[in-house]
């Protein structure tokens, strides 16, 4: 794991694999080192699962309080077979996707404008400042009061959370455009609309993707938490419902699915970012 985004003021980390101390990795990690690492990791996971199962089976901790892996697996099979899990995943994803779409639809043009025209950025600063400092989820009860418990209160929260991410990254991306390209465009007497379409937008694509990736991660958390607080369906509803009825094995299943969805979405968008980077390198 690298540093989490937001480590901006820290000194530049030394590239991975640089010799640090005798006996530690020198140069890129060797194959044996890699397999030793994988082996240790796998061993530790197996040991952990075994311990967890043993604690439950031997009754050291009540099965209800800490469901052992076997119960979790059984719960997973049951939730998948009955179609219950798929239904709730669908509800949560629907809220997430609609919210994110709105966030991109509003955040992208505003971000481009703020990146392009300094004055727009200055004018919007109070708004972005307020968004930055206030946890969006505090508006969950208000959204419920305004819009009722259902689909839109969650979608709007995702929108608010995602809008800020997309806006900030896109405007930073537009501001970071290489001046040389812009000078080429103006040397060829390109009209602003043309420059915008051929230089600004393609140049901002990687940033847009980063913004969407961050918004997706936070959006998923927002959906689940909003559902936890007030809902009738969705992953967060399942967590709350099964938590309150002491079916901890089911809660574990839902948490694993949520984490899996987050990891999948993150990896998918990262791949897309990789493709875009490849394309840039060949231009």
């Amino acid at each position: 794991m690298g540093p989490i985004a937001g480590v901006t003021r820290a000194p530049d980390p030394v590239p991975r694999g640089v010799a640090v101390l005798d006996g530690r990795a020198a140069g890129p990690p060797s194959r044996e080192r890699h397999w030793a690492r994988v082996g240790l990791g796998a061993g530790s996971v197996l040991a952990g699962l075994f311990l967890w199962e043993a604690i439950g089976t031997l009754g050291l901790i009540n099965r209800i309080v800490l469901s052992p892996p076997r119960d979790v697996a059984a719960a997973a099979v049951q939730l998948v077979r009955s179609g219950e899990l798929a239904m709730h995943v669908g509800v949560s994803l629907h809220e997430l996707v609609v919210g994110l779409t709105l966030a991109v639809a509003v955040g992208l043009p505003m971000g481009v404008l703020a990146g392009w025209f300094r004055r727009v950025a200055w004018v919007l600063r109070p708004l972005t400042g307020a968004f930055y400092a206030t946890p969006i989820i505090v508006f969950a009860p208000l959204m419920v009061a305004w819009l009722g418990i259902g689909f839109w209160d969650k979608a709007i929260l995702v929108f608010l959370e995602g809008f800020f991410q997309v806006f900030v990254t896109v405007s930073a991306g537009v501001r970071a455009l290489d001046d040389a390209w812009l000078r080429v465009a103006s040397a060829f007497a390109a009209r602003p609309a043309f420059t915008f379409r051929t230089v600004v937008l393609p140049g901002a694509v990687p940033y847009i993707l980063v913004g969407v990736r961050l918004a997706t991660g936070r959006g998923l958390v927002t959906v689940v938490v909003a559902e936890l607080l007030a809902s009738t369906a969705g992953l967060g509803w399942m967590v709350a419902y099964y938590g309150q009825t002491f079916k901890i094995a089911n809660v574990f299943v839902v948490l694993l699915v949520t984490a899996g969805l987050g990891v999948l979405a993150d990896a998918g968008i990262r791949r897309l970012e990789g493709h875009v980077e490849q394309w840039r390198a060949t231009v």
Partner: protein, 255 residues
């Protein structure tokens, strides 16, 4: 200088204009007061709201939960992060668990945490701890891995033992990473306090926001959110100041 002034002019102007439009829209009835109160009404409500005796109880509850959770996150996160960064073996053993826990939204653990420790101060403390623990561990592990190798060789050639090297070389050079991690922990911890209290509690700012929001006491709700925003900004400002101060001694860095 001129540019900075122009910038401030636009920002302050936009803020003023925005507030005036908002105020005007509410006063002329374009926006219903029960839906979104005027900024002046929020400010007027904030004074008595925060001065009230009942408020102190909520502030103390939230503050305690936040500080205990964050302190625990630092106390556990720093040594674990340093150990993981220092020992590749330990890193390999703990990496799967950290990755899995990292991927789970910590706030979604609330119902389980409540089953484990019950509703109250400690359920919120645990969630704040979980939210703050990961950024601190990950940032410290990264910090330790990126210590200047020259410094480590110097320590080694001066016959410094492992613990001594960690204490005199690794820890001081990890401070900026720690502060960056703490920054993220503070942001995450604030959200955790609010959500933890909104989900299940009998006191605290989150509890207030939930009750006032759900019952459409919108003016009070915004006053509570305003206090939350301000305390968040204050905490981040304090960390940034510390960051600035701590960085001054470092050779070759003017920041």
């Amino acid at each position: 200088m001129l540019r900075a002034n122009e910038e401030r002019l636009w920002t302050v102007g936009a803020l003023t204009a925005g507030l005036l439009v908002w105020e005007g829209a509410v006063r002329t009835g374009v926006i219903a007061t029960s839906f979104l109160p005027a900024p002046s009404a929020i400010l007027r409500a904030a004074g008595p709201f925060y001065a009230g005796a009942e408020m102190r109880e909520h502030l103390v509850a939230s503050g305690l939960e936040f500080l205990i959770g964050l302190a625990l996150a630092v106390a556990a996160g720093v040594p674990i992060g340093v150990a993981i960064g220092w020992s590749p073996c330990l890193d390999a053993i703990l990496a799967p668990y950290l990755a899995a826990l990292y991927a789970v939204p910590k706030l979604a653990l609330l119902p389980i945490v409540i089953v484990w420790v019950g509703i109250g101060l400690w359920s919120v403390v645990v969630v704040v701890f979980l939210a703050g623990f990961f950024p601190i561990v990950v940032n410290l592990a990264t910090a330790v891995r990126s210590v200047d190798p020259t410094l480590l060789r110097v320590a080694r050639s001066l016959q410094a033992g492992e613990l001594r090297t960690i204490w005199t070389v690794v820890v001081p050079s990890s401070v900026p990473f720690f502060l960056a991690g703490l920054r993220l922990a503070v942001i995450g911890g604030l959200v955790a306090v609010v959500v933890g209290e909104m989900y299940a509690s009998k006191a605290g700012i989150g509890y207030l926001v939930a009750v006032t929001g759900a019952t459409l006491q919108v003016t009070k709700m915004f006053a509570a959110v305003l206090g939350l925003t301000l305390s968040g900004l204050l905490a981040l400002w304090a960390i940034d100041r510390t960051q600035h101060r701590v960085e001054r001694w470092r050779p070759g860095r003017s920041a």
